[in-house]
Symmetry: C2
Subunit: 369 residues, 2 copies
């Protein structure tokens, strides 16, 4: 099996757990946040900067790489790790989320999805088989089954049909995968319907994947509902496999996800808001462009160990952002990713030291959303 | 005196010379190329990346910093070195070149130049006194006299009046400067008129500056004429002072400038063309976006020691450029600056080893403009 989950410690009062994931490109501690490198690059920063901040695994997007530069080219380069010079873990999504998001530009059948490229309008096709083959060419350590992320809201009938198809597609992905060095994760769907979540978990677990993602959350539903469905779903998943909550990356959601037993997260949130000039801190967001920081010569966060905070002031970073200088985006991106990776490390430490519930309460009390 | 030029070796067959410039922020070897960091940042890259590639001194622009974030703010930050976290040499220009370039937006009197900010249209004023005080606030190791760069073409009468005013202004700059840790360079003007160049050199040398720049070249004149005026001018400058050719940075111009005895150069060329996707090599330009490099898994230059060439392929960099990824601009910028800094180091070595003329011939024979 390409990846192996090692359980290190369970929280005695919540579902939180600390572990380790063994992959063909190294072992990383969980719970972990995966920075998003959509187009084979985490926007604005280098793989060495990612290593310096302690990133163990990143996510890259199949949809984008399939269209540009093409998975055949990446394969010819020796795979995604070699192409982008990143020797640690990589997870690729299946492209399903992106093609379903294309709305009028795509047509779904049992076979797969025909769609128009957002780049040049060309006709393209992705299916469980194609998405898996593309991901085999890319060569990530963890690849994802081709699924439909059930939109919110979705009635029971739609959600059931979609979820059943996602399971059939997951089986076809599994049957397509031939590489022994790649782990295919199944994705639990079911919308906000608990019986369908149970059905989805049961059917996927029967197919025996090396890991499971919880999909279809953080898609517009109220947070309370999200946490309810998450808790309901996660506790049915096997304990000996890694659990991945897709597309979630705000600190409050991360702490709740960890509490319910999630091991892996990804989200464009930290890198996207960084480029908009918003820094993440333990107390909430800091809008670095604000006039109040013009002559503030302290770092973004005096307690932060990141390259930006160790070397540059709020005043300098604000100047860079106000003058549209790329280095400003870099520093903000480095800070936000470091913050989140550090946040995950501290949560893990709290789990191991048996005070995760206190850590969570204290964090939520100080954090302004 | 804030800076001291040390002559290490003179070429016996040309005007080329190898030296060292001692500044309050370190000693650097000459001839040297100064990367341009217009807004207190060399576009897209970090001060640590500049150090890694061996940059000893950078240039920053007074006009831009005067308007944003303001020289008073930079002073409050502890000066430009501290503001941008760069502990090696800095040279600031006077802002003269930029305000004169504003055309209809500026008005010149003997006192100085009134102009409209290109950012918000606000009315601003720069003069020899103001430009010097601004540069004192910025705190660069080398600061430049406020001058008019005589445009090309300019008749003898215009060039004479302008050059005489530049000399009067240079005196006022000198009288304004009170910081002992800053060296003020005079700027030789005179257009393409040899008698005016002689006059300018004579009058400035009489004021006894710690270094001299040759201005008003590479402003649209034919290259042969530029080299002719350059040679004519440089050989009149004192040997014990550093000589700086402003705004020149293509490899063929650099080798000719060095041959005529120039020690310092600056230009936005390497960084600007990098961001347009053009890499500089010993054989000429390489347009990295070209389709022929799509599956070219070699580095930009196999013999290059830069971070980009040591870690990434043409195919990857092309992918980044085609998808508008910032990391592509960074890698191109790093490569081009490394190339030019390395080019200068190799020229210096050739001077010391007494084969500069051979180096020059060989370079020009292989280099496609």
């Amino acid at each position: 099996m390409a990846v192996k989950y090692e359980l290190v410690k369970e929280c005695s009062k919540t579902g939180a757990r600390a572990g380790r994931l063994h992959t063909p490109h190294g072992v990383f501690d969980t719970p972990i946040f995966m920075p998003v490198g959509t187009q084979a690059t985490v926007k604005s920063i280098s793989p060495h900067e990612l290593m310096d901040m302690g990133a163990g695994i990143i996510l890259s997007n199949t949809y984008h790489l399939f269209l540009r530069p093409g998975d055949d080219l990446v394969k010819e380069a020796g795979g995604l790790h070699k192409f982008m010079n990143w020797d640690r873990g990589i997870l690729t999504d299946s492209g399903g989320f992106q093609v379903f998001s294309l709305g009028a530009l795509r047509k779904i059948t049992e076979e797969g999805v025909t769609f128009r490229s957002h780049i040049d309008g060309s006709k393209q096709f992705l299916s469980p088989e194609v998405a898996t083959k593309v991901q085999m060419n890319l060569g990530a350590d963890i690849i994802m089954a081709f699924d439909e992320c059930v939109p919110y809201p979705a009635d029971h009938d739609y959600a059931r049909k979609s979820t059943e198809r996602t399971t059939r597609w997951a089986k076809r992905c599994k049957d397509t995968l031939t590489r022994q060095d790649q782990a295919l994760f199944g994705i639990v769907q079911g919308g906000m319907h608990k019986d369908l979540r149970t059905m989805s978990v049961r059917d996927l677990v029967e197919l025996d994947f090396p890991g499971y993602a919880v999909g279809g959350l953080s898609v517009g539903e109220p947070k309370d509902l999200m946490y309810e469905i998450l808790e309901y779903t996660v506790c049915q998943l096997p304990k000996d496999k890694p659990r991945y909550l897709m597309g979630v990356g705000t600190p409050d959601c991360l702490v709740e996800g960890v509490m319910h037993g999630i091991d892996m997260f990804d989200c464009v949130f930290p890198t996207r808001v960084a480029r908009n000039g918003t820094a993440m801190t333990w107390k909430g967001r800091l809008v670095a462009k604000n006039a109040e920081y013009a002559r503030d010569f302290r770092p973004i966060d005096s307690d932060c160990g990141c390259y930006a905070c160790q070397n540059f002031s709020r005043a300098y970073i604000r100047h860079l952002l106000k003058t549209d200088e790329i280095f400003g985006l870099r520093l903000m991106t480095i800070h936000n990713l470091y913050f989140l990776l550090d946040f995950m490390r501290k949560m893990r430490q709290a789990i191991i030291e048996e005070h995760f519930p206190e850590f969570r309460s204290e964090f939520l009390a100080n954090y302004q959303r």
